[in-house]
């Protein structure tokens, strides 16, 4: 991605470049003692933390000690060589978005969104779809160029798919907030598989979002894109416009 930047391994930065300082905290099932302190030290060392300082050891419960350890991590990452997919969205203004939809697509973009499975967290999908929006950025509902359907929470994948199909949706927006034991991944992947089975996966843009989502995860699960914490409705609008309105509208 940045082929020119030299591979420079990065260590953690405490106070000076290269000192590798990190803070690790954890609980071990041992009551506090000199032995427990030593165990904590060795535990830290096993992670590649050198000269660990056990800053605190406290009885967090009977038979459990809580530790805070500081030390110099010997590990480094080569950040320059990391190739992370990022959603390539040029942030468009509201006017641009409306204008492009009008002039290039010539009809409204239909989006259908939901928070799926047993997940009842609507705030994220509401932030993207509803008029109110997020952090002052109004939701897709507020655009003339969008027709937004928000099915709310606890929607099963098949219901979502059926509704989207019925509405001839251009895009399906899936929100997943509960992530316990990766249920968000399972739920997400299952929707994509369903669309594939039904044979219309490639006719629709499918977006994945939530606090533990990033573009990379979205792609991995078979979505067109993934959106994480802090996503603004206009980011999503810009993305959809870019995908759907790349060419001037074909005259009907």
């Amino acid at each position: 991605m940045h082929p020119t930047s030299p591979a420079k391994p990065l260590r953690a930065y405490g106070d000076r470049e290269g000192d590798g300082m990190v803070q690790l905290s954890f609980v071990l099932q041992l009551p506090p003692s000199a032995r427990a302190r030593e165990a904590a030290k060795r535990f830290a060392e096993a992670h590649g933390i050198e000269e660990p300082i056990v800053a605190t050891m406290e009885a967090a419960a009977e038979g459990f000690a809580f530790f805070v350890v500081y030390g110099h991590s010997k590990h480094a990452v080569d950040a320059a060589s990391i190739d992370v997919p990022e959603v390539r969205t040029e942030a468009l203004s509201r006017e641009d978005i409306e204008h492009r939809i009008k002039t290039r697509l010539g009809r409204k973009i239909v989006v259908v969104g939901a928070c799926t499975g047993s997940d009842a967290h609507t705030v994220g999908i509401d932030a993207i779809l509803n008029y109110k929006g997020y952090a002052g950025d109004k939701g897709l509902e507020s655009y003339k160029g969008f027709e937004a359907y928000n099915l709310g929470a606890q929607v099963e994948n098949d219901q979502l798919a059926a509704r989207a199909r019925a509405l001839k949706a251009d895009a399906i927006l899936v929100s997943q907030v509960i992530t316990q034991r990766n249920c968000h991944k399972e739920n997400g992947r299952a929707l994509v598989e369903l669309l594939e089975r039904e044979g219309w996966r490639k006719d629709v843009i499918v977006l994945f979002g939530g606090p533990r989502v990033d573009h990379k995860l979205g792609l991995e699960l078979g979505f067109d894109a993934g959106f994480g914490p802090g996503t603004k409705p206009s980011d999503v609008a810009s993305y959809l416009v870019e995908q759907l309105c790349s060419r001037p509208a074909s005259v009907p």
Binding site: E58, A61, I178
Partner: protein
């Protein structure tokens, strides 16, 4: 004393209006029953067990009569008739109701009076079972006194009840007064109560009667070890709110999350269903001496905590009115509210104090439940810990009764052992260091805090007036609470609501209603 101005006439006016709002609904409630209510009655009579698919007997029995269109007379009718028809025990009667080759269409045979008579000893036994648990609690609390207020409430949620028991004891040892086992994500939409001890659950551990018992045992041990009565709580919420209330009553839980409207707003459960269920659940709760925690705190996760603060207060008046109609005493009404204002808003701390103090003053005999910041928590656990400390400070200064401790990992996961330990430690510090701050300070008569309190009460009164005008059914449809809109016949579980027949029979509920 750090009080805010409070116009007692306005407060009285709010109560009057809330009473009218609740009375309107109460008419509906008294004319209806639900599958959940009927299952609860069966359970309370002692019916137990599941079939080989794990479906509870009470579901089999109730569903059978509902499907046959016979449930409007109340499941007790058929149980009583089975007893009169030769069933040897109540369990036997319940099994006949569920499985007997012939459906009892209720035609001919013993009438309502005879049924009631046949059920009388069982009705008494059902009440006695609840009373026994209540007496045990009271005796235990006399022997081992609970900690001082604000009482420190923490959550455990491993998914595995045996791990939860370990965590519950650990939490008590670290200073918790109240331990809640959070339920699995999906449970509130299940139209049955799972059975037995459970060891798997996403986002929490199922609420089952066995699980209640396991935690009760652990927490009782902790009470003895810590010399402080440790309270247990869980959720009486969702499609089985009444059944869970009964389970909690007999398993001697001390508190329950129980709200007249939470299921409607946050779980999209049908309104009619919820209103009937909440009433019956609270009848059991009232008898059991359990303290409820209402869920107005949740409103501020979907609506803005500054703009919609008054919706919390209005709803508390309504929850109070509903609770009163179900026989709860004020000492059992743990009305909920929360510290959910954007921390980056200037003077947010002052606005939080204003609301907390106002609620404290208006509901001065209620064990108010004070909820921590959640919505504005991010993965910066260090900042979150400070945010929680400021919340703690408001809690102790305004003398909240029950304080759910904030967790610095709120935005990340269910709390770990370490997170609870650190929360308890920080709270212990703040509560001690500022123990008498509330007695020490006064607010400027026309300052930010005072003006805010006046404004919130005024707005709450105005909203209550609107809700009365529209009825609560319509108000909810317009998004009066939590910025969420629900329709009267929409949502889950509406099919489980039934009109009561003129000869509806429910001696146990009738007995509970006589109590108050």
């Amino acid at each position: 004393m750090a009080t805010v101005p409070m116009d007692v006439r306005k407060v009285a006016r709010c109560r009057e209006i809330a009473a009218e709002i609740a009375d309107d609904v109460q008419g509906y409630i008294d004319a209806h029953t639900t599958v959940g209510v009927e299952r609860t009655i069966l359970r309370a009579y002692g019916a137990e067990g599941v079939d080989d698919q794990g479906v509870p007997l009470v579901n089999l029995a109730v569903d059978r009569y509902r499907e046959a269109g016979l449930l409007g007379r109340g499941i007790a009718t058929y149980v009583g008739r089975a007893l009169l028809g030769g069933a040897t025990t109540l369990q036997d009667a319940a099994e006949r109701v569920a499985f007997s080759p012939e459906l009892d269409r209720g035609e001919g045979g013993p009438g309502v009076d005879a049924v009631r008579e046949a059920l009388r000893p069982h009705t008494e036994a059902a009440l006695a079972r609840i009373d026994k648990a209540r007496n045990e609690r009271e005796a235990l609390k006399r022997r081992i006194a609970p900690g001082p207020t604000p009482q420190k409430y923490v959550i455990v949620a491993t998914g595995n009840i045996y791990d939860d028991a370990v965590q519950a004891k650990a939490a008590a040892a670290a200073g918790a007064d109240i331990v809640a086992v959070i339920r699995a994500t999906a449970q509130s939409l299940l139209d049955y109560v799972p059975h037995g001890p459970t060891t798997e659950g996403y986002g929490g551990t199922f609420a089952t009667q066995d699980n209640f018992r396991i935690i009760r045992r652990a927490v009782d041990e902790a009470s003895e070890e810590c010399g402080r009565y440790i309270q247990q709580t869980n959720y009486s919420s969702g499609l089985c709110m009444a059944e869970i209330a009964w389970m909690a009553a007999v398993e001697r839980l001390d508190m329950l999350l129980n709200d007249a409207m939470y299921g409607i707003l946050f779980r999209d459960i049908n309104m009619c269903r919820t209103f009937v269920d909440q009433y019956v659940s609270r009848r059991f709760v009232a008898r059991a001496g359990i303290v409820i925690n209402t869920g107005e705190d949740n409103y501020l996760t979907t609506a803005d905590a500054v703009e919609k603060a008054h919706t919390v207060l209005s709803s508390q008046f309504i929850n109070e009115a509903f609770a009163r109609r179900a026989g709860l005493r004020e000492g059992q009404m743990g009305l909920g509210h929360a510290y959910e204002i954007d921390p980056w808003l200037e003077d947010s701390f002052l606005l939080e104090i204003a609301q907390a103090q106002l609620v404290r003053q208006i509901f001065d005999r209620h064990p108010i439940k004070w909820m921590p910041p959640t919505k504005h928590k991010t993965g910066d656990i260090f900042f979150a810990h400070v945010h929680d400390a400021m919340f703690d400070l408001v809690g102790v200064t305004t003398k909240q009764s029950i304080e759910l401790l904030g967790m610095f990992s709120e935005a990340i996961q269910n709390p770990l052992l370490m997170d609870r330990y650190l929360a308890l430690k920080a709270t212990r510090y703040v509560f001690g260091a500022a123990r008498h701050l509330g007695e020490e300070i006064q607010f400027k008569p026309d300052g930010i805090v005072a003006r805010r309190a006046v404004q919130v009460l005024d707005e709450a009164l105005a909203l209550l007036e609107e809700v009365r005008r529209d009825t609560i059914w319509e108000a909810i449809a317009h998004g009066a609470f939590a910025d969420v809109k629900r329709t009267r016949t929409g949502g889950k579980g509406y099919a489980g609501v039934l009109e009561r027949d003129p000869d509806y029979c429910n001696p146990l509920l009738a007995a509970l209603e006589k109590t108050s």
